[in-house]
């Protein structure tokens, strides 16, 4: 585990086509680093470059180039780097290895193992509000359908969840009957968005609804929520 402070950053430059015992060299090096417990390593593929042989390698649509430059980068403590450098030199073959002093500002955190067996009866219960918004499917907001814009806006405002329902028949503020015709792909009907969250959050979102909905109906009702928090648990364990 890497801690904040002084460390060494090692970069290895290779060619994509180089192989060792039938596997690409970068993959052999990555495996070596992995099993030696290096804190982390990243392999990036260049789009163009040249090396010691001064051949230009580039990604070309016409001739599929398999000799693109590859860079492997990892950061470790000096002791660890010293311990594995000998083997790395051997593995890198004709490639170039460079290292530099660096400072780890914030070490990466190991994600805690997920709880594999969630408690069977964990539920969250409480009071909440349901907000239903009735609009027409043709209604648009800026460049997209209004219902899509509303969902995106709710998502951006951390509303717990929203579902859009398409009506097969209905009428609304303009008192025009909307009917879904079978066997037609074009749909011009009423849609309903149903969102559930705390009263404060929904009320805080309401000014946006005011702006976006020119014609429609918003319905609030009190609901009791019972939430089975399986996924919430996994997220909590990761952070």
């Amino acid at each position: 585990m890497l801690n904040a402070g002084k460390a060494i950053k090692v970069s290895i430059y290779l060619s994509d086509g180089a192989t060792r015992h039938g596997v690409p060299v970068y993959s052999a090096i990555l495996d070596y680093l992995f099993y030696r417990g290096v804190a982390g390593a990243t392999v990036t593929k260049g789009v163009a470059g040249f090396g010691a042989d001064h051949h230009m390698h580039s990604a070309n649509m016409v001739e599929i180039s398999d000799r693109l430059p590859i860079k492997i980068e990892f950061i470790e403590t000096r002791e660890k780097v010293d311990a594995i450098l000998g083997k790395l030199e051997e593995l890198a073959g004709t490639g170039l290895i460079e290292m530099q002093e660096t400072t780890v500002v914030k070490p990466a955190q190991v994600s805690k193992p997920k709880q594999l067996v969630p408690p069977a009866h964990l539920k969250i219960e409480g009071k909440a509000q349901m907000m239903r918004i009735y609009v027409s499917e043709e209604d648009r907001w800026k460049d997209k359908p209004l219902y899509e814009a509303l969902v995106a806006a709710m998502r951006a405002n951390d509303i717990a969840g929203v579902t859009v329902y398409r009506g097969i028949l209905g009428y609304g503020a303009h008192r025009r009957m909307h009917k879904d015709k079978p066997l037609s792909t074009a749909h011009h009907g009423s849609v309903m968005l149903s969102a559930i969250d705390t009263e404060e959050k929904l009320r805080a979102f309401l000014p946006l609804v005011d702006q976006m909905v020119a014609e429609g109906l918003v319905v609030f009702s009190d609901v009791d929520i019972i939430k089975y928090a399986y996924r919430a648990l996994e997220v909590e364990a990761q952070s």
Partner: protein, 116 residues
């Protein structure tokens, strides 16, 4: 224009095959809602469900072969919903009606015009 008022929401669950005087039941109820001046009514088709009679209803991929569960959702004033319920008693043979108190915000474009 924005208006805010307390209202009642009524939801009716039945089957898409249900008919009333030869017309699909949901169309008939919707026409009644319009008659009573109810501002909003919408019919949803479920993909699967069951109701009284415990017969499972499936929505078919073939759009003309219908036996999907449908839900009709109506929002109106206490008075309008009060008028609608006796009609439903005669129209809905097999189904479920649920009502709840709600608060409504209504946006409308034609600010000057009174509702028809």
């Amino acid at each position: 224009m924005k208006e805010q008022f307390p209202a009642r929401m009524l939801r009716i669950h039945f089957g898409e095959n249900d008919r009333w005087h030869g017309k699909p039941l949901h169309e008939a109820i919707l026409a009644k809602c319009m008659e009573f001046g109810i501002p909003e009514a919408i019919v949803f088709r479920g993909i699967e469900g069951y109701g009284s009679g415990t017969r499972i209803r499936h929505a078919s991929h073939w759009p003309l072969a219908k036996d999907a569960p449908v839900q009709l959702s109506v929002i109106g004033t206490e008075e309008q919903i009060g008028k609608l319920i006796p009609c439903l008693d005669t129209m809905v043979e097999e189904g479920l009606v649920a009502t709840s108190a709600v608060e409504v915000i209504r946006y409308s474009r034609d600010a000057g015009k009174a509702p028809e």
